[in-house]
Symmetry: C2
Subunit: 428 residues, 2 copies
């Protein structure tokens, strides 16, 4: 049986999972594939810390370049993260014609066009299954399984930290800050949680999914990104009363002449499969024109789930090397260049929570403003309040993002309105 040499760059959580997985299931993988992955080197700046997996110390080095350059290394796994060393080392491997497996969503979202071009130039591959969805095979399914489909839309819960926080806020009625602290204590959230809770991690993943579906890299900087920091326990409670759960969604959608990519909290009907995704789990609902709705659900992060997908990619690359079939998949949606839909042209329903002065005619003024901006009301929830202002929750029919923004700007300036209006989009 043919062996293929693996060079692992980055010996963190997922790296240790890869080592563990190859050790525990290496024989099984070899018997399934007829080829065997052999770990030749592990490169990390820290060569002393115990990662809880047994390795031969002589195989651990701080010289990542030497690992890439070793002729005994056929496949490079990049699990360093970030866009510094990871970028330089990925370039180096590709330039040597060595295929790369990466879980680095930020790297691909920002430098994907360059790196995939480099892979093509050197007739080799980048596989990136673990960059979106951890242990969930969404990349493989989009690239290969749904190849016959026009991708109508993708709705994804792509960040386990955010979903954990939102689940706890809903189930316990807690405030964002309290749950964030709890998540940090449990290790579900980073000390600096901005990448997760402000939506950037989800946006990187959305950019990768949009690229697979439609063949163009949308610059992350142009994507509408709204995180979950501003969500109040009250809104999650009102949403529940209305039959919805609040989820941080990535939305990727095909329009006639543009692609829509946005990341924001959204009200999802409680009966929808995505509303049943609790805690740190991730899920993606893909609508293909032939398949209809297809959902994938599982662990979107973590040592072994992510390592499972990394090793799955290694399996593909070993087969590609064995049969001389690099570039098996073009890794592109294949469609002509697509333009990003203007943010203002997104069309959704909206949940609005306004703090209104409790006197006659107030609601009529609000509905008049909404109507002037093309927004019609589906339902209103107004409860008796004790103070000068009462909370009023309005659910609208579909309207354009720019109509809603203009209406909210005008409403915020009315003397009957206290505080900032709250708006959460609704996806159905």
């Amino acid at each position: 049986m043919k062996d293929f040499g693996i060079g692992l760059l980055g010996f963190g959580t997922v790296g240790a999972g890869v080592v563990e997985g190859l050790k525990r299931n290496g024989d099984l993988i070899a018997s399934r594939l007829g080829v065997r992955p052999v770990l030749r080197w592990i490169a990390d700046l820290d060569t002393t810390r115990d990662r809880g997996v047994e390795i031969a110390p002589a195989r651990l080095t701080s010289n990542a370049e030497a690992v890439i350059d070793d002729p005994a290394v056929d496949i490079v796994i990049e699990l360093i993260g970030g866009k510094g060393a990871a970028l330089a080392l990925t370039r180096r491997a590709l330039q040597k014609g060595k295929p790369v497996v990466t879980a680095n969503k930020a790297l691909l979202a920002e430098h994907g066009a360059e790196l995939f071009g480099l892979a093509a130039k050197h007739n080799t591959d980048i596989y990136f299954g673990a960059s979106v969805g951890g242990g969930i095979p969404i990349i493989r399914v989009l690239r290969e399984g749904l190849v016959a489909n026009q991708i109508v839309s993708i709705h994804g819960i792509l960040n386990g930290t955010c979903n954990y926080i939102l689940t706890r806020m809903e189930q316990e009625g807690l405030a964002f800050d309290d749950v964030l602290k709890e998540a940090q204590d449990k290790g579900y959230a980073e000390a600096n949680p901005a990448l997760d809770v402000d939506g950037f991690d989800t946006a990187h993943k959305a950019v990768i999914l949009a690229w697979l579906a439609y063949g163009a890299f949308i610059p992350t900087s142009q994507v509408l990104i709204e995180g979950i920091r501003h969500l109040a326990a009250a809104d999650i409670r009102y949403a529940a009363d209305l039959g919805y759960r609040v989820k941080l969604l990535a939305v990727v959608k095909r329009h006639a002449d543009a692609v829509e990519v946005r990341v924001h909290p959204a009200l999802v009907p409680r009966t929808h499969m995505l509303a049943s995704v609790h805690g740190v789990f991730n899920a993606m609902m893909v609508h293909g024109d032939m398949t209809g709705p297809t959902l994938l659900y599982g662990r979107g992060a973590g040592r072994e789930p992510t390592a499972s997908t990394v090793i799955g990619d290694v399996g593909d690359l070993m087969k590609n090397l064995l049969t001389g079939s690099a570039r098996r998949f073009q890794s592109t949606g294949g469609e002509a260049s697509v333009r990003l839909l203007d943010r203002g042209e997104a069309r959704t329903r909206h949940y609005l929570r306004l703090s209104l002065r409790d006197r006659p005619g107030t609601l009529a003024r609000i509905t008049a403003v909404l109507g002037e901006h093309g927004m019609s009301i589906a339902s209103v929830l107004q409860q008796e309040g004790a103070g000068e202002y009462v909370p009023v929750v309005i659910v609208t029919h579909h309207c354009l993002e720019r109509e809603c923004q203009a209406a909210l700007q005008e409403i915020a300036g009315l003397d009957v309105v206290g505080g900032e209006p709250v708006r959460i989009r609704i996806e159905e």
Copy 2:
């Protein structure tokens, strides 16, 4: 761009979907894969019926052998169904070294060992993504995505007809016979529904999944198969009261020295993702030792979803032919030969509904019999009744199948018990 010739055998519902899909999305597929599928022939005994898709009449023939033999046909799609002509024609194609795409679960479950052996002998492939789960890429995910995992278990809702019937029974409180008739009127159930409602279709699919996971074909005749015909509206209602939904499940599980495969209705906790699968949808929950739980959900049948998966397989085979990499995947779980777990050794909780004579000491006698057979009670639901007998619902803790069967046999013979005890297994 290189063309590959496709010969389609069987111009029924899915066949028409393949024709439609290749027509509508052929350019997209070609731009994604860099190769183009070209439909050379369609073979069907009926060459006149309108299938709602436009084809050149000269491409339609009743001579399937000639289609296979045509040197311009590189890939054969078998959508005839059944085990007669489909078997002979699949053999013929493989013997000529031509790869075959099939959606024929019965054929694979019964003749898979022979056909995969034949494919290996002639250095070609059988792809069978559409044999389980229609538009859901479960076969691809098990074969490639989860290659690094020991498969701990698979729980699947694999038959849309049964799930539609169970959903309607639950939501409307209807009896099985009434819903079956409605399903037949709507075209969701066959005139002869036995293959679906008696569990055989699900069992064929379970056998294929078990083979992918563990590398051995379990004879369908040895699988525990129980359908949904005997389910009463009352049981579905009681299950709901207890927090469960009733689903027809395929259960495939790894034990230390055996594989468990069974098909039967099961109570599933309402909070479990599988309980949210309504109507004709299918879903599979796969537990890998690295990924943890992973769910795939979508349309498990129908013209376009199934055709989507068939065309996806064609995509793989075109790439295999292009790069001379047939036999890319061994299509086996790769483990040593596995034995089927004895039916009596299956371990589950149980829902029991007994009709008991309404007099003192009756329940004590029942619990004594259960206890003698190693079964302990988790909860009892007894309501006041008007007649001589009252229904009593018992939920047990885990016990062995043979313990439960022995207990039920003894209970059925007691003079305080009226009618046959009802038993539904619980999966959690």
